[in-house]
């Protein structure tokens, strides 16, 4: 399983300044579990994915711990990390058309994922790749093995990407907006495919998305991210039924599908703080409807309630429970 502990990422920008894209995130993804990581674009959720994969922009600084099955990935050499990527942790990214090498046969790209980590013959890799393509629902996989990506539809390409990602039975899969570029009807198919395959093999999934509808469909737990920090996490049922953080509540209220009442959708006023100079207190304070004195002076303490966690001063009165999320 994957444990992320107080991870901070600083990315250099022009003028010798730094953006704190991820500001102390603690998160865990258990075996066979799907955790939805939700937030607006630019909130640092993809950067967190990059931190786990060891694929941050060059010059970035990473602190905290990234533990995969108890092993700290931060101490790895480049070659050791390469052996982990695609083997123990895999990635499915947003746009399947951009993820595949346009000049290579799709089957070869799946076989490559296998041969990157296992010393087997080309022929054996090819046979396994065909089986993987079959498992992700590519019709007539042996014949389509040699086709280049542009002869596949977007949904079919994402199936190929998933086949390559799951080729080596990884412990954790990072799925970064895996359905955003696809048609709505295809989205559900791909999500259910992901769910079926990972539950069967016990692969944990960190599903990065901006779409709460996606979370509701397939996730077990949810973590809500705002301006580089996780503001609330818990089971999907608890968080959706009773969001504790004002940002989570606002996010749920602004979902068209989740909004039963007629009239305009509520919007969150104000702007995300400048992360080259993160605010001293709560990062949501400037936009929060329920802001008070303490919010702007000190960062909120993480409190837990019923197995979930929330970083908000409103819930400070609640009795503290164990720090670790099971």
């Amino acid at each position: 399983m994957l444990q992320i502990d107080d991870v901070r990422v600083r990315i250099p920008v022009k003028g010798g300044r730094w953006v704190e894209a991820v500001g102390g995130v603690t998160l865990a993804v258990g075996s066979g579990e799907i955790v939805g990581l939700v937030g607006e674009s630019g909130c640092g959720k993809s950067t967190l994915g990059g931190a786990v994969m060891g694929l941050l922009p060059s010059g970035s600084q990473l602190s905290g711990q990234v533990l995969l099955d108890g092993r700290d990935l931060r101490g790895l050499t480049a070659e050791e990390y390469r052996q982990v990527r695609g083997n123990d942790i895999a990635l499915v990214s947003q746009d399947p058309s951009a993820s595949l090498d346009p000049t290579f046969a799709v089957g070869a790209q799946v076989a490559e994922a296998i041969r990157n980590h296992r010393d087997i013959s080309r022929r054996a890799a090819r046979e396994q790749a065909v089986e993987l393509l079959r498992a992700v629902g590519i019709p007539d996989p042996a014949a389509r093995y040699s086709d280049p990506p542009h002869r596949f539809s977007g949904g079919m390409k994402q199936r190929v990407v998933i086949a390559a990602a799951l080729a080596n039975d990884p412990s954790v899969l990072i799925a970064d907006e895996p359905t955003t570029a696809l048609d709505v009807t295809i989205q559900a198919q791909i999500l259910h495919l992901l769910r079926d395959l990972t539950v069967r093999t016990g692969t944990g999934v960190l599903l990065i998305t901006h779409d709460l509808g996606v979370v509701a469909q397939v996730c077990d737990r949810i973590a809500v991210m705002y301006a580089g920090q996780v503001v609330e996490q818990g089971t999907v049922r608890d968080v959706f039924a009773d969001p504790l953080h004002p940002y989570t509540r606002a996010l749920l209220d602004s979902q068209p599908a989740a909004h039963h009442r007629s009239g305009d959708l509520p919007v969150i006023l104000g702007q995300v703080p400048d992360l080259t100079h993160p605010p001293a207190g709560c990062r949501f304070a400037a936009r929060c409807a329920r802001v008070h004195d303490r919010c702007t002076t000190a960062p909120p303490v993480v409190e837990t309630q019923g197995g979930g966690r929330v970083a908000c001063w409103l819930h400070d009165a609640l009795p503290p429970v164990a720090q670790e999320v099971s």
Partner: protein, 319 residues
């Protein structure tokens, strides 16, 4: 039908009108010479009888289309006519000259690609000093005229140091080692500028590919960096590189004319230049035709190679 086969057939079909147009243009040269080309060839003192005799010999009094038909029919049978000065059959002359030009151009291209592609890749993904050095080489290679570079090479390697023969030629079949020794300076002369263009194109194409998302995805699969750069990125960058190699082959054929003259190599280029100065029009016509045909064939091969490297190119237009 198999899309690749269709692509090959379509590209072959495009080549035929190009060959036709080229053959017409080159056929017309001798007929476009102002005044009477035969009189120009023979000089002012030629008698009207000898002029008439040569005109008849070259079939210049036939209707144009008959002349063209006869010429093309001859060429298709390997008969290019006669050298006007030596009276030797041109096919024999070309058979001696063409291999020399091909050897220089192909060796230069092989050397330029062998040096240029890896350096271009390093210039895109390597450290700062590799970038600086290659940039300097590119500016140098593009700015310096090839024949002047050749002369400077002669000055340094052949003149002052006596390392290499300054000019001359022996056929490969007679003395392979000697042949290659004579080839070193001409090939270097042509290859420097070629390598500069190939480096520049490779670097630009690689930089374009390296920034694309599928490279990140390859890393996420745990693909080795070597394989990402040389298998995936280079293959995606191959289309512009192959295109430039094809275009530069035309430049090389032009450069070969100059370099053959400079190093006294008996190639087609030197043959053409000598023939122009002697007003030996049948030789000019045959020489230009052979070089232009080579150029068109290389363009064809380049396009086919690009189509096979990048399936998106060969698939375009079927559907």
């Amino acid at each position: 039908m198999n899309p690749r086969l269709l692509f090959v057939l379509r590209r072959l079909g495009l080549t035929i009108p190009v060959l036709f147009v080229m053959s017409v243009v080159i056929f017309l040269i001798i007929r476009l010479v102002p005044g009477d080309p035969v009189r120009t060839m023979l000089g002012f003192r030629a008698t009207p009888e000898s002029v008439a005799q040569v005109r008849a010999q070259l079939h210049l009094d036939d209707p144009l289309w008959t002349q063209y038909r006869d010429w093309v029919a001859g060429v298709l049978h390997g008969d290019f006519g006669q050298d006007f000065v030596s009276k030797a059959p041109l096919s024999e002359l070309l058979a001696q000259r063409v291999p020399v030009t091909l050897e220089i151009t192909l060796l230069s291209m092989v050397l330029a690609v062998a040096v240029g592609v890896p350096l271009g890749v390093r210039a895109a993904v390597g450290g700062r000093w590799v970038r600086r050095l290659t940039e300097g080489f590119v500016v140098f290679g593009i700015s310096v005229p090839d024949f002047w570079l050749g002369i400077m090479l002669v000055l340094v390697c052949a003149g002052t140091m006596m390392w290499l023969p300054p000019s001359g030629y022996v056929p490969f079949m007679e003395d392979p080692g000697g042949n290659l020794t004579y080839m070193i300076l001409p090939v270097l002369t042509l290859a420097v500028a070629e390598a500069a263009y190939i480096i520049r194109t490779t670097r630009g194409a690689m930089l374009g590919v390296i920034g694309r998302p599928f490279i990140v995805y390859l890393r996420a699969k745990g693909t080795k960096e070597r394989s990402i750069v040389y298998r995936h990125a280079l293959r995606n960058a191959a289309t512009p590189i192959a295109t430039v190699i094809g275009i530069q082959f035309g430049v090389l054929l032009g450069g070969a004319i100059v370099v053959e003259t400079l190093f006294a190599l008996p190639g087609v280029g030197r043959l053409i230049v000598t023939a122009i100065n002697q007003r030996n029009y049948p030789v000019v016509q045959a020489g230009l035709f052979v070089v232009a045909t080579l150029f068109i064939l290389v363009s064809l091969i380049t396009d086919l190679v690009v189509g096979f490297i990048d399936p998106q190119v060969s698939d375009r237009g079927d559907s």
